[in-house]
């Protein structure tokens, strides 16, 4: 075969070279995609690259505390003061919302929920009773529910 290429032969060689480059590029891209897919799926399976909330501290925290403040007639009491305290260690003070509920995030895992006490107060009322609801669930996302009842003075 002559080294002198005709117009058509040159075009064919050029086409062949370009196709080789294209196939080489495709192979490289496919390899990179495959490698990324494999590494990502392994990381996700291993729990090493989750896409959850960065703020999710649920593993370090104990259960949260939630409940209603009601009057003796069963009506909810908005804007009541609620103290969620740990025995001999102080606590958190919050107020009930428009629905008469309060929410306090979980304390550290070292705090035994049995040592957490809830008290409620509002001007013109006195605390009558505090009842902790027992839940059959052990789901840590379910808060410990404590209902506080106020009586008009």
């Amino acid at each position: 075969m002559s080294s002198q290429l005709t117009g058509r032969g040159f075009a064919a060689t050029l086409f062949e070279d370009r196709m080789k480059i294209l196939i080489w590029h495709c192979g490289r891209i496919a390899g990179v995609v495959l490698a990324m897919t494999c590494s990502l799926s392994i990381a996700v399976r291993a729990g090493g690259a989750g896409f959850g909330d960065d703020d999710d501290n649920s593993e370090e925290e104990g259960p949260s505390y939630f409940g209603f403040v009601r009057d003796t007639g069963g009506a909810t009491v908005p804007d009541a003061k609620v103290t969620v305290g740990i025995k001999n260690r102080g606590g958190v003070v919050t107020r009930t919302d428009a629905l008469g509920t309060y929410k306090v995030p979980g304390f550290g895992k070292d705090v035994d929920p049995k040592d957490v006490e809830v008290a409620c107060d509002k001007l013109g009322y006195k605390q009558l009773r505090v009842v902790r609801r027992s839940s059959p669930s052990t789901d840590p996302k379910i808060p410990i529910e404590t209902e506080c009842t106020l009586q008009r003075i």
Binding site: F15, E16, K20, I23, C26, S64, D97, A98, L99, T101
Partner: protein
């Protein structure tokens, strides 16, 4: 040579197609919406869907019926709304860990009772007050569940162009 390259490219394309089809786990003819011959799956709508399906339209219809003083329709809409809350609380008894039946009770039981009286008495002013109170209850519950951005209001227009809210004269 050119023919060989074309056959290699076509072969590669076919292999890629077969791989993708196999990885997607379904046959080429199957619909992306599922298998028509499959057993019906249980329908478990979550809270947002239940609110949009069972609560929000019924709240709106109740308001429109009351505004038109169409008391039979208002009574029907109130009953439907109450039933919607019962169904939603049974379907999702806890949402984000919070007790849904108790939240509904605190938010809407009292205004629903007042609405019931107002409708039976055909008393527009009491209806308006109780409806406002119901709407506030909805928003208070949204705030408690960290959804204060979902604000419900008294409807100022009908979203139901195919329904007459005025009573039959």
């Amino acid at each position: 040579m050119r023919g060989r390259v074309i056959s290699v490219v076509m072969g590669g394309a076919f292999a890629a197609f077969v791989t993708i089809a196999a990885l997607s786990g379904r046959s080429v003819a199957q619909s992306p919406f599922g298998d028509p011959n499959a057993e019906p799956a249980p329908f478990n709508p979550q809270m947002a869907a239940l609110m949009s399906m069972l609560i929000q339209p019924r709240h709106a219809k109740l308001g429109l019926a009351g505004k038109a003083e169409n008391w039979p329709l208002a009574g029907y809409a109130l009953k439907e709304l109450k039933q919607g809350f019962v169904v939603a609380a049974r379907a999702v008894p806890r949402w984000k860990g919070l007790p849904v039946p108790d939240l509904f009770d605190a938010a809407v039981t009292q205004p629903i009772t007042l609405l019931d009286f107002a409708i039976k008495l055909r008393y527009r002013r009491q209806f308006d007050e109780a409806y406002e109170s119901l709407t506030k209850g909805c928003n208070a519950c949204h705030a408690t569940t960290d959804h204060a951005f979902v604000v419900i209001k008294v409807p100022d227009a009908s979203a139901f162009p195919d329904q007459e809210f005025e009573p039959k004269r």
